[in-house]
Every structure is written in C-alpha cells, then in structure tokens.
C-alpha cells in the first residue's frame, strides 16, 4: 500500500531578509544623521568641566568664538585664526542682524588657555554693548 503523501520532499530553507535590511537601513540613516551633526560640531577644545546652568530656552547660536589653548581666536564662520580687529567687525556684523543679543553668542575657551585672551574677547563684546555672555562648559 502506498500513500500519496509519503514522497520525500526537498525543503529549501528561506532566510527572511526583509527585517534585517530594514534594520540595517535604519542604522545607516542614524549614522548618516549623527555624522552630519559631527560635521557641524565645534572645534575640539578641552572645555572647563563645570555643571553650568540649566538653559530653559536656548537661543540659536549665531556666533561661536573659540579660544584655543595658545590664545588663538577662531570664529566658526572663519577658516583660520583671526585678530581682535577682525573679531570686532564680525561681532559688529553679527549684532547687526535682527534679534541678535548676547544670548546668541557663545564663548568656547580651552580650560588651559590664559584668561588674557578671554579678557580681550570680553572687552570686544563689552565694547559692542553686550551686558553678558555665555561661556561653554563641558558637562561632568
């Protein structure tokens, strides 16, 4: 007696690739976006490690002034170091934009830089009538 269903069948294993590809694409998108943020990141500095203050409504940065360990001043809009005179004109033109106040300007200074450079930059800001400033710190 022979049963119809008794014939041996070859079962081809099928690996479902769709979920894996979905996940891989999500990962790619994540890393692409993260890489984009990294490109926009500031110049690498050893910022002072302080808690800082909780900023309830962070204004958009229109000008970031970086002070390197050797006192070099680099503004995010420029490609290299700039002099105090150049900084003055950059600050002046930034403050000329609509709705720009001290809250739109951030100082990033290396913790090992001498305060001389920071003092000079603050002098420039004060000359333009800024009553306060934001100094970036690294969250501990």
């Amino acid at each position: 007696m022979e049963f119809k269903g008794n014939k041996s069948r070859v079962i081809i294993p099928v690996v479902e690739m769709t979920p894996m590809i979905d996940i891989v694409f999500l990962l790619i998108i994540f890393f692409m976006v993260a890489a984009q943020f990294a490109q926009q990141a500031h110049i690498k500095l050893d910022l002072p490690t302080e808690v800082g203050e909780e900023i309830t409504h962070k204004e958009q940065n229109k000008l970031v002034i970086n002070i390197l360990e050797d006192g070099t001043i680099i503004v995010d809009k420029s490609e290299g170091s700039i002099s105090l005179q150049e900084l003055e004109s950059i600050v002046g033109s930034t403050l000329g934009e609509d709705n720009t106040s001290w809250q739109n300007i951030t100082l990033r200074a290396d913790e090992n830089a001498l305060s001389k450079s920071l003092n000079e930059v603050i002098g420039v800001l004060h000359k333009h009538g800024l009553s306060a400033t934001n100094v970036a710190t690294e969250t501990p």
Binding site: M17, V51, E53, L130
Partner: protein
C-alpha cells in the same frame, strides 16, 4: 545591494564622531572702568583671581583662598543681594576663572559679573 548597504553602514559607523554634551555659564560682563558698579546701592563684593607663584588663588577682602572648597565656603556666608564681581587677571587659566563663576552660581548669586582685571 546588501553588500553595498553593509559597506555604507560600516563607513558611517567608523566615521561618526560623537561630541560630548556642553552646558553654558552666563556671567554678566563689565570692564573695570565701567560705570555699572557706581550705580549700585550696595557695596560691591569683589573676588580677584590671580597667580601667586605657581598657584592660582582667590583673593576676597584681604583673604587669600587657595582651594575651591575654601572659596565656596567663604562666599556662601556673603549676602546674595549685592551680587559678586569676579576680577580675573590675565595670567589665570580660563578653567580656574570659571570655577569662581560656577561656585558663585552654586552659592545662589544671581548677579555674577566677570571683570577683566587691569594689571
């Protein structure tokens, strides 16, 4: 396609640089020749940050404070209302200057004024 996708994934994993979170300290600004302090009703409380030899010190009303803890304890006893003026000499590292601003904030001073010291 999967090969290319994996290559892309590896590329972005390798090239991505994550930056640490930053926070902000916001001192008021004043130059030493500024007139703001002259209009205050209270006697201004001034701490001067300077180098003595190779050490950074906080000088507050004739007291020379060598440690951050000592400085924090001392300013915690000061009245909050007049605010605190931090005079920073040129030779002091920025990191040290910001310890004073942070401790003043921690002590509850709402008005912390950063003043570049004229030597």
């Amino acid at each position: 396609m999967i090969d290319v996708t994996f290559l892309l994934l590896i590329y972005f994993i390798v090239t991505t640089v994550f930056t640490p979170a930053e926070s902000l300290l916001s001192p008021a600004l004043q130059l030493e020749e500024g007139a703001a302090s002259q209009t205050q009703d209270f006697e201004p409380q001034i701490v001067t940050l300077e180098m003595q030899g190779i050490h950074t010190v906080y000088v507050l009303g004739g007291q020379v404070l060598t440690s951050r803890v000592e400085f924090a304890t001392t300013i915690a006893k000061l009245p909050i209302a007049p605010g605190l003026i931090i005079r920073v000499k040129n030779e002091v590292p920025v990191g040290f200057a910001l310890t004073a601003v942070q401790e003043a904030r921690n002590a509850g001073f709402e008005r912390v004024t950063y003043v570049p010291a004229v030597d």
